[in-house]
C-alpha cells in the first residue's frame, strides 16, 4: 500500500466532534474532590491532620504500599492479579538479610535483591502465565505460599536485625524536608507513568487487557507484555520490600503479608477494572490517598480497632458501587 493520503482532504468539512461519554479524567477529578472533601471534613476534629510533619510521616509510611499498587496496576490492566506482592515484599527483606550476611556492598545488595524479584516476576509468574497458559491466580497463589515459606527458612523463623546504612538512609532519610521514601515513590510513579502512557509497551498493556486475541492478531507480542507486567509488579514489590526492611531495620518472617490486598484495594478504588483494559496510575494514587485519609480518620477518631477492617470493606463496596452505578447511568 503506497496510497496514504486520502482524497477527502479537500472536502474535509469539520464534523462536530462528539463527546465520548464520561472521561476518565473527569472521574478522577471527582474522586480527587471526594478525597479532599473527606480530609477537609475531618480536619476540625483531628488536629493531627493539620501537622505537616504528621502528613509527611503518613506519606512516608504508605510509600511502599503505593509502589506495590503501581506495579499491581500494570498486571490488573492487562487482566490478572499478582497475589504474591506482599509475600515478595517480605521475601526481598530475607534476601537482603542473606546478602548483608555475605558482606556484600550495599549497592550490590540492592541490585541483587531487585534482580531476584524481577526474575521471579518475569521468569516464574510471567512465563508460566503467558507461555504456560496457567491461571494467574494459581501461579501467584503458589508464590504467595512459597515465598513466605522460603523467607522463614532464610530467617530461621524469627525476626533478624539487618544493619544496612544504605537501606536505612533510603527508608528513614530526608532531602530538603521530604522523606526519602516519598521521593522514591514519586520517582517510581513518574517512571511508571511514562512507561504506561508514553510508550508503545504501555499502549500494548491496555490493548492486551481489552482483548487479548485481538491484540495478538493485530501484531502485539501479547506474551511478552504479560511477562513484563508481572516483572514490573514483582520489581515494585521488591522496592517496597527494601523500604520496609530499611524502616524496620530488621527482616521479619511475616513482613509484607496482607499488603497485597491493601494495594489491590487502592488499585480497584482508583477505577482499574478486573476486566482489564482500563485503569490509570493516577487513579491508583488517589485510591491509596483515599484509604490513607480513611484509615487516619478511623484510627485517630478512636474507632474500635476490631471494626476498622469492616468499615474499610464496606467503604470499598460503596465506592465501587457508586462508580458502577454512575457508569451504567
Amino acid at each position: 500500500m503506497t496510497i496514504t493520503q486520502s482524497t477527502t482532504e479537500t472536502s474535509s468539512v469539520p464534523e462536530p466532534v462528539v463527546a465520548s461519554g464520561p472521561s476518565t479524567l473527569k472521574q478522577q477529578g471527582l474522586f480527587f474532590a471526594i478525597v479532599v472533601a473527606m480530609f477537609l471534613v475531618a480536619l476540625p476534629f483531628l488536629p493531627q491532620l493539620r501537622s505537616g510533619p504528621y502528613l509527611m510521616v503518613q506519606l512516608a509510611t504508605y510509600s511502599a504500599v503505593l509502589i506495590m499498587a503501581l506495579g499491581q496496576t500494570f498486571v490488573v490492566v492487562q487482566v490478572g492479579f499478582d497475589l504474591s506482592t506482599g509475600a515478595m515484599q517480605g521475601f526481598v527483606g530475607g534476601l537482603v538479610f542473606l546478602f548483608v550476611g555475605w558482606h556484600l556492598a550495599d549497592g550490590l545488595v540492592i541490585v541483587l535483591s531487585l534482580a531476584a524479584a524481577l526474575g521471579i516476576g518475569v521468569l516464574v509468574h510471567g512465563l508460566l502465565i503467558a507461555k504456560g497458559k496457567m491461571n494467574f491466580f494459581i501461579v501467584t497463589l503458589a508464590s504467595f505460599t512459597i515465598l513466605p515459606s522460603l523467607l522463614r527458612v532464610i530467617l530461621d523463623g524469627s525476626s533478624k536485625p539487618v544493619h544496612s546504612p544504605a537501606l536505612d538512609s533510603l527508608a528513614n532519610g530526608s532531602v530538603l524536608g521530604i522523606r526519602t521514601p516519598v521521593i522514591i515513590a514519586a520517582v517510581v510513579f513518574g517512571l511508571m507513568w511514562v512507561l504506561l502512557n508514553r510508550t508503545v509497551f504501555g499502549r500494548n498493556v491496555y490493548a492486551v487487557g481489552s482483548n487479548r486475541e485481538a491484540a495478538r492478531l493485530a501484531g502485539v507480542n501479547v506474551d511478552r507484555v504479560t511477562m513484563i507486567c508481572y516483572g514490573i509488579c514483582a520489581l515494585c514489590a521488591g522496592i517496597a520490600g527494601l523500604l520496609l526492611l530499611g524502616a524496620l531495620g530488621a527482616a521479619d518472617p511475616s513482613a509484607g503479608l496482607g499488603n497485597e490486598f491493601f494495594a489491590l484495594t487502592a488499585v480497584l478504588l482508583g477505577g482499574t477494572r478486573f476486566s482489564g483494559g482500563q485503569g490509570t496510575l493516577l487513579g491508583t494514587l488517589l485510591g491509596l490517598l483515599f484509604l490513607i485519609v480513611l484509615s487516619n480518620i478511623l484510627l485517630l477518631s478512636g474507632m474500635p480497632q476490631f471494626w476498622i477492617g469492616a468499615v474499610q470493606g464496606v467503604v470499598l463496596l460503596i465506592a465501587v458501587g457508586i462508580d458502577r452505578a454512575r457508569r451504567d447511568a
Binding site: P53, L98, V100, L123, D156, S159, P161, G249, D252, L300
Partner: protein
Amino acid sequence: MKRFLTAPLLAGVTALALAACGTGSTGSADAAGGTKPLAEASVDADGALAGKKILYVDGVPGNALLDGLAQGLAAELNKQGATMARVFQLNAQNQIDLAAGNQRINEGIAQGVDAIVTFPLDANAIRPGVEAANAAGIPIFTFQDLGGLDVTGKLKFPDEQRGADTGEALAEVAGGQGEASVLSGIPTDNIEAAVRGAVKGLEAGGMKVVGDPDNQRNLKDDAPEAQRVAQTIFQKFPNLRALVVYNSASATGAIAAARQAGVADKVVIGTMAGEDTNIAQIEDGTLALSYDFNGLDYGKAMAGLVQRALSGEELDNEVVEAPLGQVYTKDNVGDYKPWTERQTYIKIPSGF
C-alpha cells in the same frame, strides 16, 4: 513446552539454593546473632525416668520463646532419662491451627506415651485433647494456668508480675512522670495479664497511662503491623514519654515508628518479652529496656512437675509458679547471655 518450563525451574532451583545457603550461612552471619549448630540429645539411661516417653505438643516452630521452653524441658527430662518428642499445632498447610493440638495429643495417646506436656494456644480449643488424655489415664500438663482445664499439673506464668516489673522499670527510665501507654497484642490470657500489670507498673512508677490498650493491638503479631499501631499511638499522644510493648517484634516495629515520627529521642520503649534482638537494640540505644523471662527455667520447672507425677505422686490440677525473669537496661546489658549460651541447645526429635 520445554523452553518455557526450564526458566521457572531454574529460577525455582536458584531460589531454593539461595534459601539453603541462607540456612547454612546464618550460623556464621553476625546479623543472625550467632545460632550454633544443635547438639545431639543425650539421654541418661540411668535416670529416674529412664525409658519414659514424654510428648511435648508445642505451639509453632521458629519462636525463640517457645524454643527456650522446649529446650529447658527437654534438657531436664533427658537428664532424668526420659526421651522427649516435640510436635506443633499446625495444620496440613503448616499454618497455626488451634484444633491441631487435639490431633497431636490423640496421636500421642495412640503411641502410648507416658506423659503429655502442651503449650495451649487456646483453653477451649485444647479441652477435647486434655479430656482424651485424662480418659486414657495419661498425665497431662500445660504451660500457663488456663481456666477450666482439668489437668494433672500446670505451670503458671507470672505474666502480671512481668508486666508490672517492666512498667515500673520503664517509668524509672522515663523519669517517673509524664504520659505513657501500652501496645498490646492478640487478646490471649497471658498478654492481657501482662498488659494489666504493665499499666499498674507504669502508674506505680508515677506515670499517667494514656490511650486504651484494648484499641492498640498488634493483631498480626509482627513488626510491620506494630509499626503501624505504634505510629497511631505517637500521633494521638504527641507528649508520650514511655511505651511498653508486649513482645519482641513489636519493639522493633515501635522503634521504627518512633524514628519515622521523629520522636525517637522523646519516647522510651520497653518490651515485656525480650529476645536477643532486643538486647542488640538496647546496646544501640534504640530500646530502653527488655524483660527477659527465662524460658529455659520455665521448661525446667515444668520438667520437675512431670517428674513428680511420673514418680508416683498423685497430682490433680497442681499449680506451680514459674520463676521470675530479669529486666535488662543499658546499665546491666553487659551481663546478658543469650539463652543459647546459657544451655547447649539440642536436636529435639519430632517422634519416638
